[in-house]
Symmetry: D2
Subunit: 363 residues, 4 copies
């Protein structure tokens, strides 16, 4: 109910930006999967604040502690619980905002819904909540790699008005990680960094688009009707903070094509294998992966918390002017890259087990 995701490969996250810490329970992971714990930490390091000059200066090491579910670094098949302690937290930064609702932030609606609010820093709406997603996503990635050499890769495609042209077929993780904005085109990346620094200097913020692929996805994943693979991916990605739009394959731009232009012709490839000449489907047809590259895009709005003065109200409904202190990202996209990958990996791992459950008893 709200803080859990997935059916068979299922995570439950907990924790606010204040309080003892944040974390995740991962249920349903297959037993005897060798876990690279360093790789989990590495993903958290990609997500952590304070990693570069274009992220929030809030500086947390975000050291993961695994409390259960492993023996000798192998999964037991029972719940894997991971906790990250909150450390560099400065409640005073939020003191004056306590009862003033930040425009386009969750402060107001949480108050409306629950009649109470976390002490500060956004509570469950804080980006710290995504630590649990990324830690579990790192395990999902390891499962996918083992089963089908599947790889999930995301990158920043656009920051504000600056867009990169990236070939999804050839892009590599090292290209993405070669710069702090996580755009595989280094020239465009430089412009993106400059744009973020510029809006940051102005006390403002900006958004953009992240693109994500799944390379070597198992074919046959996804269900007819409601749990179509693209539907579960859409939910996964629209659940990330600040996301405003989702596209699979040709997306919105594909609606300008006619059927004869948009359809992906099948290529003869042997019984039991599907290959297509084009990939407007984005690797999914009828809700089920066809084995081609899965391609999707997510829109992220500009960060809501900005330093510029804004008109707003407090919890009594009275007019106020807000000038946010705190330490906030002027642009969420660079840190959202591992979040996007994690959510995609979690959806794929879940559907892998679901497919195995229903269709794996006989060939």
């Amino acid at each position: 109910m709200g803080s859990s995701f997935g059916d068979l490969f299922r995570i439950s996250t907990f924790g606010e930006s204040h309080g003892g810490g944040v974390g995740v329970i991962l249920e349903g992971c297959p037993p005897r999967l060798a876990i690279d714990v360093d790789a989990i930490q590495a993903e958290l390091d990609r997500r952590r604040p304070g990693q570069s000059k274009i992220t929030t200066p809030r500086n947390e090491v975000d050291q993961v502690e695994i409390l259960s579910g492993l023996v000798d670094n192998k999964t037991l098949g029972t719940p894997i619980s991971m906790v990250v302690r909150n450390k560099d937290f400065r409640p005073n930064d939020y003191g004056e905002m306590q009862n003033i609702f930040r425009p386009s932030h969750a402060d107001g609606t949480y108050h409306l819904k629950y009649g109470v609010q976390a002490a500060s820093g956004g509570g469950r709406a804080s980006a710290r909540e995504t630590i649990g997603r990324v830690a579990a996503g790192a395990i999902a990635k390891q499962l996918l790699r083992k089963v089908n050499q599947t790889e999930v890769l995301a990158w920043v495609k656009r920051i504000h008005t600056i867009e990169a042209d990236v070939d999804p077929n050839s892009v590599q993780i090292k290209d993405i990680e070669s710069n702090i904005v996580r755009c595989p085109d280094p020239k465009i990346a430089k412009l993106m960094v400059e744009r973020i620094e510029e809006v940051s200097r102005d006390g403002d913020s900006c958004g953009g688009v992240i693109e994500c692929i799944v390379r070597n996805p198992p074919a046959g994943l996804g269900m007819p009707v409601f749990d179509k693979l693209e539907a579960d991916l859409a939910k996964a990605l629209m659940s990330l903070p600040a996301s405003k739009g989702f596209e699979i394959g040709s997306g919105f731009s594909g609606t300008f094509l006619k059927g004869s232009e948009h359809n992906d012709a099948f290529i003869p490839s042997g019984k039991g294998i599907l290959r297509t000449a084009t990939n407007n489907s984005g690797g999914i047809q009828g809700g089920i992966s066809n084995g081609e590259l899965i391609v999707l895009r997510v829109a992220f709005k500009p960060t809501a918390t900005i330093r510029k003065d804004q008109k707003t109200v407090d919890s009594d409904g009275k007019e106020r002017t807000l000038s946010a202190k705190g330490r906030h990202d002027p642009c969420v996209l660079p840190r959202a890259v591992p979040m996007v990958e994690s959510m995609v990996a979690l959806v794929l791992a879940d559907h892998l087990l679901r497919q195995q459950g229903q269709c794996g008893l006989w060939q």
Copy 2:
């Protein structure tokens, strides 16, 4: 698991385009809700094939039969089951396509996943499956109207390259239903109809964008983290056949704004009420409805089944040329309007009960 949707207000659909019929079980509807059965049938009539010259000539009356869950047209609180018999079904239309996979259709991936396929007509991927959604959605609408005078309205915003400019605040159902393409702008609607007829004459198809609003939505609906209201809406709409993209509020275009331009300033409105000066949030902040108009858009690709010759393969992986017979919509959007409304109404009804369950015990 695939064919069920919702947590507390939950539907399970069944049925293929062939076979005895299609239908839905709706669980969790509050007791003693007066049901307007004619309104259910009216929504099915908006969805049914053969309703106009721009839809498939397959002509089915789609008469709903309610098997359980009501007494004297009031809900009992127990499952409401509704069935529509299949009637105007012509399996011969599909005979030659039986083992030839239609490009960008579900034929191939269903075969890949299950190793078996429905006799013809798309099985669960048939648009007939949406009958269950629309029947249950009609009940969700009646619940929402009773509780908060909530209204869910969708319309065709764009067909191929022809786009209408519609004011979400003032649009009325009668404007939408004033023409067969379901675009509230009558002049643009005429152009849209012509475009559909044109691609149809060419044996081709086209797609477009549907816009949907929720007027007078209850505030406080949606959950933090995974079950954000926009995340559940995204899943609901990306589960519709042919959908390729989803946006809430400012969506993809909002990513071209800066935070100071994008943020919706709060307006003083009294304790416990939130109002915003603008609505880039599309009525949802932090995953929770703020009471403003909910606004979303869905991209639908051009219909995959076209009459033009296409390269493809058969179930043995051999090259084939397909020239589809059958009777298909050249454009799914006019009939998708009630489907979009239904999915949105189902998500809202579910979150209404979830909110009531967790937060309704005391004020």
Copy 3:
């Protein structure tokens, strides 16, 4: 939420004793399972009223119609929906009971919960609801038989004070079906029939105990902690109308033993196989099947609806005397045998798929 059961092999039932009919949707059944439709009907015939002199004279053929999910009698992997029409329904039998609550029946609590009641005959509390369970259970049995030659068998162990001594290891379906009370001991069965006829003549009713085994259960089914196999079996069986108690293996009587007497010593049997010298565990240890015979028992109370006069109240809370008309079973146990088998088969099938999902990717 109430009318659905199972995680991966999942059923949703619908229907009241009045109205158009009752039925079930079965989701998640593996594809390409050959279905013996006659065997489904045969199980419904074991359950149906009017089958013998010791069951209710309400006489319904209960002919199952399969609306979806099969092609050429093979499963498609998509939802299988089955409907049975209500036919021999006589609402006048219930007219005078409409607002008088039958003692120990669901009439009163349904009214309390929902503020409304099905027209008559118990609504969802009617034994007709179990038609859906038995139809789906018949498919679960076919799946279990195919996968591991697994067999689920139940019989009447005790009627009122008359108890049979049955050897679970050797009992066969033909022994059980050799008489109308479904007790494999023919001499005891005769006494049981007489006892039922006796209480029936008196306008009274009686209860008893059903025993059930699973022969050749797959080992390794069940989950640690909450979804222990015996926990899910307990829920399944305590959800049957009139059940009041559940035992696995040694059950309540095992609590009179000491650990040294109760423990089942393991017998050397080769790596990866567990065999035990005794079976107080009833085939389940730590919530997981060990491969030995699963043995359980269910207590059923005497039927609540009796012809004898009873003190009660009506929906206004006023004192009334009730003398039930209608046509009711003086003892539910003979017809409950296929219900018990069905619920056990559904739990096993569900856990089979869950085990396959989590642990089937590699050996």
Copy 4:
């Protein structure tokens, strides 16, 4: 999937007897509930090992740490996570048992299922897992008390062959807690303690029966068909380690009565209130609470781990003789009392929210 329980008031537990700790996430708790943290600790103290001479000498303080979900000791409505660190753990006690399966324990079946086992001490089958249940159950109790002055009370009714006669209507918590075996009859309690000490001296163990009531339960809780209140209670209690049987109300003994003897006559009590002259129903009719005292009983087998020599096998399937070291309870019942109460409270709290969700929108 295994480690989660409940629909709206939902817990997920984690942790093994080895490793960093054990704990629970509680999702769905209503916001603004004042939490008595000391009362949570007090329940854990009732459950903890080493509390008396008849429990395991393993001595752990089991100090609960609340990581999230509260502000100023009020619930936020977001997940409450609670962790207890493992401290007095002696892996050497288990060293020699590592590959030797304890008869009637989970060692063998876990190995069969997962092909791997927790380092020692039972992993998820350890009684330490129940810490999460008891911590969350303590919050469920506080919710129930606030809403309807509802009280959940359990006690030891029988140890081995020594049974107490307890009046469920008058028993008080102070009577139960007046002695270390938690039997409200002090004379019988003394005999029970002696029996436990006797079997313990012999290196053996014993079981018994716990009885539990719910006083002032809200009426109308529970759902028709599968999620009957007694069905969810049965699952909850049969999921506790060592439980072998469950009864509601008259249970197995009620099957010796005729309908006319067993039925609970309704007493005139005013519109919208149900009262019964007797309570063979145990407070639940048709799966729904009628407002009378809920009464149930659970059978617990003798502890599987005993010091006496036992025949068994190791993970290679070879014959072994086991003489367990470790520190184990000779009888689980005294410590199981708070576990039973917790599971009952969790079921009631969940159904309270479910009832509120479906039926709380209007009266």
